[in-house]
Structure formats: C-alpha cells, structure tokens
C-alpha cells in the first residue's frame, strides 16, 4: 500500500518559491491501477516523483508497505526503488545502440540479480511484450510501439510491485497506444502489481480502478471505478483537499 500523508513540495527559496504540491494525502491499495490526472503544471508528475522517491517531499510522509521512504538515506531509496518499482516514460528512454536484450537487462544489473537467473527473466519479459524475436535487434531499429513495448519489458523484468507510467501512450498512435495499455493492465491484473499512470488521456484514465485529479498542486477529486462506471453525466468531481479513498 502506498500512502501519501500531507505531502507538500515547494521549489525555490525565499521570495521565489513555488508550491508544486500542497498538503496531498492519498492511499493507494496494493494491486490497484491509478490514473493521476490533471493539466500540465498541476503537480501530477511531482506527485509521481515523490511517490517513487525520485524527489523529496518538503513536508509530509510517503509510506510504502509501512516504511516512510522520506526518511530513507539516498542509498536505501535507490535499493528500494530497484527492488520494488519501475518506470515507463513517454519518451521510452531505450538505449538505441544497445540490443533489446541488453536494454531489458539494465534493471537486473542494477538490482544485482545473479547472471545465471537473468537470461530466463529477460526472455520471459520480452515474450510478455511480444519481442522475443527481437532480442538481438538494436533498439533504434524498432518502431515507436515496439520501443514502448521494450520499455515495458524493461520495466517488468524485475517483477516490480509498483509500476509508474508517465504518459505511456503519449507518443503513440491510438492503435499502438491501446496495445500498450493492454500490456500495462495485463501486468497489473496478472501480477497484482500497483499501476500508477500519469496521463492526460481520459480513455486511459477511465480504464483505471481509481482516478486522482490534481489541480494547482492539490487533490481536486478522487474517483473510484464504481463512481466512474455508474456515472451517466460527465464525470463529476467532489472537492477533496485531504481526500482518502480506499477501494
């Protein structure tokens, strides 16, 4: 379970300060798929960065499975991240000159997974995204959709409990985007991993168990799937400055 308790993030010093997040609290149960929705600059990416330990909260707590990662030393946060979570980005961030195999191998190397176990894990991840035939191909020779599938293979190779996806379909056409979405939700359901998607895409957000709407650094609303599917009118939101929702 991921729990954000009164998390605030302020950038800058003295007069030049900017509050990216203000007193945000939310509980995300294990295995949920969550869409973090909001306009550009609303603070959704900052929220993801703080949840993943990539950024530090100015105040508040980020409790994952009972541990407040804000109190962790950098080395412990790195280790925690390498063993617990993974990322998918809009820009794929695959290493073009490396083979697909070596791209997927990176998280295993970082997590110091023994060499003898790696091959099977990499092949399984590539097979899960349908790239088993491409394992010796260079990443730069893949299409955009294949690159994102490769990024997913890299993200899931280590069986992370939490998967962060930052605009995963933002650079893809709708057909390819849907295939990527399918892969993400498949992983979420089959592995029971928590999927946190930062997106502008309403269709993608509607497929998630829960939607967290961010506006001006605050939680504007939190909607569960039930609320989303029962709606007949356009999605209404209820203001929740300190919202907590359990599914």
């Amino acid at each position: 379970m991921i729990e954000l308790k009164a998390v605030s993030k302020v950038y800058g010093k003295k007069k030049n300060t900017f509050s990216a997040l203000r007193d945000v609290s939310v509980i995300i149960p294990d295995g949920a798929s969550v869409a973090v929705v909001g306009k550009s600059g609303s603070g959704k990416s900052t929220m993801m960065h703080i949840m993943s330990g990539l950024d530090h909260a100015t105040s508040g707590q980020v409790v994952i499975d009972g541990d407040d990662i804000v109190t962790f030393k950098p080395r412990k946060v790195d280790k925690f991240r390498s063993e617990t979570m993974s990322f998918i980005f809009q820009s794929f961030f695959v290493q073009g000159n490396e083979s697909c195999y070596n791209n997927v191998s990176l998280p295993l190397e970082i997590a110091r997974v023994p060499l003898r176990r790696r091959k099977a894990m990499i092949e399984r991840a590539l097979a899960a995204v349908g790239l088993e035939e491409k394992k010796r191909s260079r990443a730069r020779d893949l299409s955009g959709g294949q690159k994102q599938r490769l990024a997913i293979a890299r993200a899931i190779v280590n069986d992370p409990k939490i998967l962060f996806a930052d605009e995963p379909t933002g650079n893809l056409d709708s057909v390819t985007g849907e295939a990527i979405e399918k892969l993400l939700f498949e992983y979420n359901k089959k592995q029971g991993a928590t999927l946190i998607v930062v997106t502008h895409d309403e269709d993608l957000a509607n497929k998630c168990d829960m939607q967290v709407h961010i506006k001006d650094g605050q939680i504007a609303s939190i909607n569960t799937r039930q609320e989303i599917t029962n709606q007949t009118q356009p999605l209404t939101t209820r203001p929740l400055s300190r919202g907590k929702v359990m599914l």
Binding site: H49, S52, L54, D55, P74, R75, D78, K79, F80, R81, S82, E83, S86, F87, F89, S91, F93, Q95, N97, E98, N102, L106, P107, E109, I110, A111, R112
Partner: protein, 454 residues
C-alpha cells in the same frame, strides 16, 4: 551494480561511439607509443652499454689519477694553488686546464702494492707523422698502446695470448687504414711502419744561446732552438679487426707499453710534462671496489672501477631516456584533457540515460563508476594501440637500426614485458583519474532534470 556489469556496460557504451573512442584512444596512444619506445630505447642502450663495457673493459680494471678533477664532472672555477706536479698540458688532460699529474714516484708506489697488477701509466702519445712501407705518403694517425687485458680480433697476422704484450718492435694496424693505404691486410703484415715523433723544446736560456753561439755560431743556435724529431720503426704484427662494440670509434696504431713509454719519454723530454702522467691503469687482484677504497684512503688518489664507468654511461642513458619520457609525458597530459572532454560530452549526450538509470535505482557511485570505467577502457585501448605500434616499429626497424649503426646483432629497441604491463596499467589509472570529474558530474545529475532532457 556489480563491477563486472559496470565494466561490460562501459565497454559496450564505448563500442557504440566508435569514432570518438578511437580518436581519444589514439591521443593517449601517442603518449603510450613514445613512452614504450623511450623505455625500449633506454633498455637497449643500457644493454648495449653493458655489452660494450664487458667487451672493452676488464671488470678488474682500475683507472687511477691523482687529480680528482679528471674523474669529476665538476669543471671547477679554473683557479687553483700552484704546485710543481701541476701540468698545464691541455693535450694530456683533454681539458685545457692544469691538473695534478703522477710522477714516477707515484707509479712506483702503486706498483709496490699487493692488491694491484699491470700498473701502466697513461701515455698521451702524439706522432708528427707516420710512414708505411710500400707507401711514400706521410700520414697522421692517433697512437696508443696495446691493452693485453681485452680480447681483440685480427684480420691478418696474430696476437699474443691474453695478458701478454706484443714485442716492443711490433705494431698493430687497424683494419680501417687499409683502404687509405691501398694495401691488403696480408700485404701489410710484416712491413715496417716508421713513426716520427717531435720532441717538445724547452725555451733555451740566454746563457745556453750564448754558449751555443760561442761553440758553433748561428748554425749551433738554430740547432738549439729547432724542434727535434726522431724516427721509431716497427714491424706490423697484425691487422686489428674493426671492433663490433667499441667505445672509441677512432682507430689507432697500437704499440707495446714499453714502446709507448719510450715514445712518450722522447716526446716530453725537456718539457714540463717529462715523467708526468695523467694517471695509470691497473688491474685489481681481488675485489676492485675494495682496492679502490684502499687506494683512495691510503694515497688520496681518485680511482674509477669498471662499474663506475658503467654507472656513468647508464646515467647518460637515463638522462636521455628521461628527456624523451618527458615529451611523452606532455603528450599524455594533452590526451588526459582529451579524455576529460570526451567524457564530458558523453555525459551531456547521455543525460536522459543517466536519469533512467537513476530512476531504476542505480546508485550515484555506480553511475560514476560507469563513466570512470569508460575512461579506463579508453586508457587501456590507447595503451594497447601505442604499445602495439611501438612493438611493430621495433620489429620492423630493429634490423635496419642494427645494420645502419653496425651494432653486430644487438637490438637498439629492447622491449621488456613487465615495463609494458606497468605502462598499460598506469595509462588505465591516468585515464580513470581523467574521467573522475565527468563521472562526478554524471553521478550528481538530478534524475528528474535528467529525465526531462530529450
């Protein structure tokens, strides 16, 4: 991340930027090439010098002089207190300054010592001219005396067994003279050689001139002030083969030590150098170093052993090697900046990749290690390229150098495997140090900022 994974990933990263890697490696390769060659040349020169001394100087040989300035590299300030045994003969000292010479008393003292044998004064011999039988021309040639303690080869005639002198009426001619004399070696053996020696004339006093005039008029006075000469005739015993490893490259006529004494005695008679010698050569009966210390302590003479001569030569070689290595060091410093520049560019180009690695939990120190290892690989490749080229050059050029410099099979470039190994390891370390700052920059990148970089 395990070191082996970092190392493999670093190697792959370099392979992906082949052009840049090769160019940066070449920069360090230039330094490696020069250093390898300077090490090889130094080793070759030392080996050559070692062989040279073994072939030319008896390990028991001692060079004994009274004046320490002869064996010292310090030329002094030119002024010194006068004494009767000072000789100002520049030809004798080769320095053009007054030196304290040995007298017959000194020679006797040294010959009476139990730890020395074959004490021979150093005769500075100068012939006015030399005439070879069968050739009407007069020649100037340098003269010396035969060293019975070293092995010499002949192209014609024969030499006495090692340790024995040639006869006093015999002379040895170097092979190199044959072409000028238009004679074959066989033809020259048995022929006579006449050496004409001038006698230094002391300026006659007024009384001597008056006495000569009274006795024989102007003719007698002219005879008194006229330089005297004397012919000494010898028979060619053998033609000396050109030594393959010779310290002194100029060939000389060799007479026996007794004949040398006679020639020296005649040429210096009446001059300030009469019965004076720069020093002596001798053979130590036991440990040369012990004999050297004993002589220095008891007589206050300056003594050089064969080992000291070797040390002097090695110092010279080391200085030359140091100069070349200095230039190679400059090349290496330049290449270090090349590595720093390349790695900084690499960090900039791979900012988003660094961000991803950090997001996936790669530690700062592992990211720094990745860039340091990349720099280390560049150093290693540069070292291999430089050393490889130097080895290739050595392989191709050694036979030519040996032939051109007439080193008789001795290679000038001698490669020592452990030196090459140390060099490559050092280059890797230097490269890693050069990669330190770019690596630190990479490690300190903010992952969020890095991920925003396209």
């Amino acid at each position: 991340m395990r070191a082996i994974d970092v190392m493999r990933r670093a190697a792959r990263n370099l392979r992906q930027a082949k052009g840049r890697t090769i160019l940066t490696s070449l920069a360090i390769g230039v330094g490696a090439f020069t250093l390898t060659l300077s090490l090889a040349a130094g080793e070759g020169a030392r080996e050559y010098a070692d062989n040279l001394l073994k072939n030319n100087i008896d390990p028991q040989a001692l060079f004994i002089v009274k004046d320490k300035s002869v064996t010292s590299t310090d030329a002094g300030n030119g002024i010194r207190e006068y004494s009767d045994d000072l000789s100002s003969t520049s030809a004798a000292s080769g320095r053009g300054v007054a030196i304290q010479t040995m007298t017959n008393d000194d020679i006797v003292k040294l010959r009476s010592r139990n730890d020395l044998s074959q004490v021979i004064p150093i005769y500075s011999l100068t012939a006015k001219y030399v005439v070879f039988a069968g050739n009407s021309k007069k020649y100037y040639t340098p003269l010396t005396y035969y060293d019975a303690t070293t092995v010499s080869d002949v192209v014609a005639g024969s030499l006495p067994s090692l340790g024995n002198q040639i006869n006093d009426n015999e002379i040895l001619v170097p092979e190199q003279y044959l072409e000028t004399l238009s004679l074959s070696a066989q033809d020259l053996v048995g022929k006579t050689v006449t050496i004409t020696v001038s006698q230094s004339v002391a300026t006659p006093s007024q009384d001597e001139i008056q006495q000569a005039f009274l006795n024989g008029g102007n003719t007698a006075v002219e005879e008194l002030v006229k330089p005297k000469t004397k012919d000494f005739t010898y028979t060619v015993r053998a033609i000396l083969k050109k030594p393959t490893l010779a310290i002194a490259s100029n060939p000389r006529l060799h007479v026996s030590t007794n004949a040398a004494a006679e020639l020296y005695s005649y040429s210096t008679k009446g001059s300030s150098n009469e019965d004076k010698f720069i020093g002596v050569t001798a053979l130590a009966k036991g440990d040369p170093t012990k004999a050297k210390d004993d002589i220095q302590n008891s007589l206050g003479y300056s003594v050089q052993t064969a080992k000291d001569a070797q040390g002097l030569l090695f110092t010279f070689v080391n200085i030359l090697q140091g100069i070349v290595a200095g230039f190679a060091g400059l090349a290496l410093i330049a290449s270090v900046f090349g590595i720093i520049n390349t790695q900084y560019i690499s960090v900039l180009e791979r900012t988003s990749q660094i961000g991803l690695m950090k997001a996936l939990g790669m530690r700062r120190r592992d990211i720094a290690k990745l860039f340091r290892y990349e720099a280390g690989w560049i150093g290693f490749l540069g070292g291999l390229v430089g050393v490889g080229l130097a080895l290739l050059l050595g392989f191709l050029a050694n036979p030519w150098i040996t032939k051109t410099l007439d080193l008789s099979g001795q290679s000038l470039l001698v490669f020592v495997w452990w030196q090459i190994l140390v060099l490559i390891v050092s280059l890797v370390i230097v490269a890693i140090i050069a990669g330190w700052f770019p690596a630190r920059k990479a490690a300190r990148l903010d992952p969020i900022e890095a991920l925003r970089t396209e």
